[in-house]
């Protein structure tokens, strides 16, 4: 049930995410050596406007991309149509965005010291 607009949004967000995923994976592969710790993660991200910007963009993209993706699956495999389908997309989008931004905030500015 994709129209041109949703399709474009999904592709654009995918393209935005591609380098971010690589970055993210790179950091993970680098960081994972010797195990992960909260301290280590936070040490990298805390208070960094750059990390905030990167991860906020990432999160926004995920929310849009994921919601549109789930919409397609819900329509094709779940038989959703009409308002139910629209509602589902918006709710999942909002949920992903909310949870995601909260996490980004947590590791940048919001962490408990």
């Amino acid at each position: 049930m994709l129209t041109l607009r949703l399709y474009m949004l999904q592709r654009i967000t995918a393209l935005v995410m591609a380098p971010l995923v690589l970055l993210h994976l790179g950091v993970m592969i680098y960081a994972i050596q010797g195990g992960l710790s909260a301290e280590e993660i936070l040490g990298r991200t805390q208070g960094s406007a750059l990390w905030f910007a990167i991860y906020a963009t990432f999160t926004l993209s995920i929310a849009i991309h994921g919601a549109i993706g789930l919409r397609a699956i819900a329509a094709e495999w779940g038989g959703f149509r009409g308002y139910g389908l629209e509602a589902l997309m918006w709710v999942t989008g909002a949920f992903l965005l909310g949870l995601g931004l909260r996490a980004v905030w947590a590791v940048t500015y919001g962490a408990a010291p």
Partner: protein, 116 residues
């Protein structure tokens, strides 16, 4: 559609589609969890540490290997999908699909090796 019908009809690109869809679905389901864990940094740093400590354990490592693999395969799968959509040539789809799978697998292995 019976399982036999699906098997008779299956072919590499169709499998690539299923893998892409399932990996996307799995990512969408996993991410909220991932986000929640990271938010613990704000609310309960000790628990975050505890959970991250799990990475030392086999299952968690395998699970993470799986997730990286999912992300990688979904991304390369997605890129290989978009290539013929945005580039003006008749793409060697099967080769692209195979390459995407291979690169993802490599990446995930790298991740695993580093994690060990």
């Amino acid at each position: 559609m019976t399982a036999r019908d699906a098997i008779n009809r299956a072919h590499p690109l169709w499998v690539a589609f299923i893998v892409h869809r399932l990996s996307g679905l799995a990512l969408a389901l996993f991410l909220p969890l991932h986000f929640w864990i990271l938010s613990l940094a704000m609310t309960d740093p000790a628990r975050l540490d505890g959970l991250l400590g799990f990475t030392e354990r086999g299952i968690v490592k395998t699970a993470e290997f799986g997730l990286v693999f999912l992300l990688a395969i979904h991304m390369f799968g997605g890129l290989r999908l978009m290539a013929p959509e945005f580039l003006p040539w008749r793409a060697p789809h099967k080769t692209l699909a195979a390459a995407a799978a291979a690169v993802s697998f490599l990446l995930a292995c790298l991740f695993l090796m580093r994690a060990l």
